[in-house]
């Protein structure tokens, strides 16, 4: 079941060219939606102005090589491992959803565009990955929906209460992944299968067509924000934040005599403080 390509069976009803056209249409919708979103929120302008401000406050110039290294670090920490999340549960759920989405989308494109290639037609790995991606998306997504969704925890919003635009993205993702799996698992069972397929396409269209209104575009501007945050640390502007001091440094101790007076010359690690308790909003 999970080793067969569901799109191969679909090809008997819908011509592969139509499936390919749909994928291209969805891609175009994402591009257009992201551009409109950027224009509407002026996020491009915001980043440009922020970087100008940072440059003005910079104490040193960051070389192109250093910028490259920072980009690699941003990619390794913030992008690939969702390192910005302080909450471990949210981080794991985000990683599941993110990788599930990437695997699902990439394998869908492979399955549809290389449908006629003999290697793909007989391959069992790609369909398995397609199912795995959808399952990961469901696992991370439903965990988020029932347990981590901010409003569920803080405002007492029940799981069945929809939140308009705020939930558009996650609803699109969950609907797409859930009905994709159901459609694949009910292959050959007539009306039910057709219904799941229609819902799968409807939720996919909702997900990719609602970029302007949903938070889909965060996958483009979040890495940019993380990169800029690292640049401000490297160029010394630090967004006007104070420096991180080494308390054992004699120069720091001479400048701030309260430190050695009250804490000694080698202050111990004081532990996590308020972060000993995860926030629960009440």
């Amino acid at each position: 079941m999970i080793t067969s390509n569901p799109f191969a069976e679909l090809a008997a009803v819908i011509p592969p060219a139509a499936m390919q056209a749909y994928i291209i249409l969805m891609f175009l919708l994402v591009v257009i939606g992201t551009i409109l979103d950027m224009l509407h929120k002026k996020s491009g302008q915001y980043f440009f102005e922020n970087s100008k401000k940072a440059k003005k406050n910079a104490t040193r110039t960051v070389s192109a090589g250093e910028k490259g290294a920072i980009a690699v670090k941003t990619l390794a920490k913030e992008v690939l491992t969702s390192g910005e999340f302080a909450n471990v549960k949210r981080r794991i759920s985000h990683l599941l959803t993110m990788y599930g989405f990437i695997i699902f989308v990439v394998t869908t494109v492979i399955l549809i565009f290389a449908l006629r290639t003999p290697d793909t037609a007989t391959s069992t790995t790609v369909p398995m990955l397609w199912h795995l991606g959808a399952a990961m998306l469901c696992l991370g997504g439903y965990w988020f929906w029932f347990g981590i969704r901010v409003d569920v925890a803080s405002e007492g919003v029940k799981w069945y209460q929809l939140n308009g635009r705020g939930d558009l993205f996650i609803i699109g993702l969950l609907g797409m992944a859930t009905f994709a799996l159901l459609w694949s698992f009910t292959m050959g069972s007539g009306t039910l299968n057709t219904l799941f397929f229609v819902l799968f396409i409807a939720f996919s269209t909702l997900l990719f067509g609602s970029v302007y209104w949903s938070k889909f575009a965060h996958m483009f501007f979040k890495p940019a924000a993380a990169f800029q945050k690292r640049i401000t640390k490297a160029d010394g502007s630090r967004e006007n934040l104070p420096a991180k001091y080494d308390l054992t440094d004699p120069q720091v101790q001479a400048k701030f005599p309260d430190i050695p007076t009250y804490m000694g010359t080698r202050p111990p690690n004081m532990g996590p403080g308020i972060k000993r308790e995860a926030p629960n909003h009440y």
Binding site: F85, S154, V157, N163, P279
Partner: protein
């Protein structure tokens, strides 16, 4: 001036919501980021600013400690047990950094066990001092600290 949130920094973790004494930091239902729901009820206690792990909350400081247009930012490093402030004037020249201890012992340990402390005597009850009042806030060396006792003078246009 009340607190405001840099949306690109906030990840909606909720530390500010938990700590706000006025209960006015909330999570926006659409964007899932924190925001101040009632700016005119914010009395700039800086609790949320210090609690934010991403430095996503900022406050425009009043003119009573630096001319308007300045930036005042804070970094509360709990593991080191210090708080660092940076006040930068709008001309960019006057750039002041301060560092002060916020604890001398690890967090959550050494909590005084008040039930083990002997009951206060009559003299202690009649005294104006608080329980366990530290020496440095008692007025053993005289009365209240004033400008005069500290050799300071009021300057027109600066202090009043």
């Amino acid at each position: 001036m009340p607190t405001f949130v840099y949306m690109t920094r906030c990840d909606g973790c909720g530390h500010c919501v938990d700590i706000c004494p006025s209960d006015i930091m909330h999570i926006d239902k659409v964007t899932r980021r924190a925001y101040n729901i009632e700016p005119n009820m914010c009395w700039e206690c800086y609790s949320c600013v210090k609690a934010c792990p991403h430095h996503a909350i900022d406050v425009r400081g009043y003119a009573d400690f630096a001319p308007l247009g300045h930036s005042v930012r804070v970094d509360r490093d709990e593991e080191k047990g210090v708080i660092a402030w940076r006040i930068k004037f709008r001309n960019g020249q006057n750039d002041l950094e301060l560092l002060a201890p916020i604890t001398t012992k690890p967090w959550g340990k050494h909590i005084p066990k008040l039930s083990d402390v002997p009951a206060p005597s009559k003299t202690m009850r009649d005294s104006q001092l608080l329980f366990n009042e530290p020496k440095y806030i008692r007025m053993d060396e005289g009365g209240l600290h004033t400008l005069e006792s500290n050799g300071l003078v009021m300057k027109e246009g600066v202090y009043y």
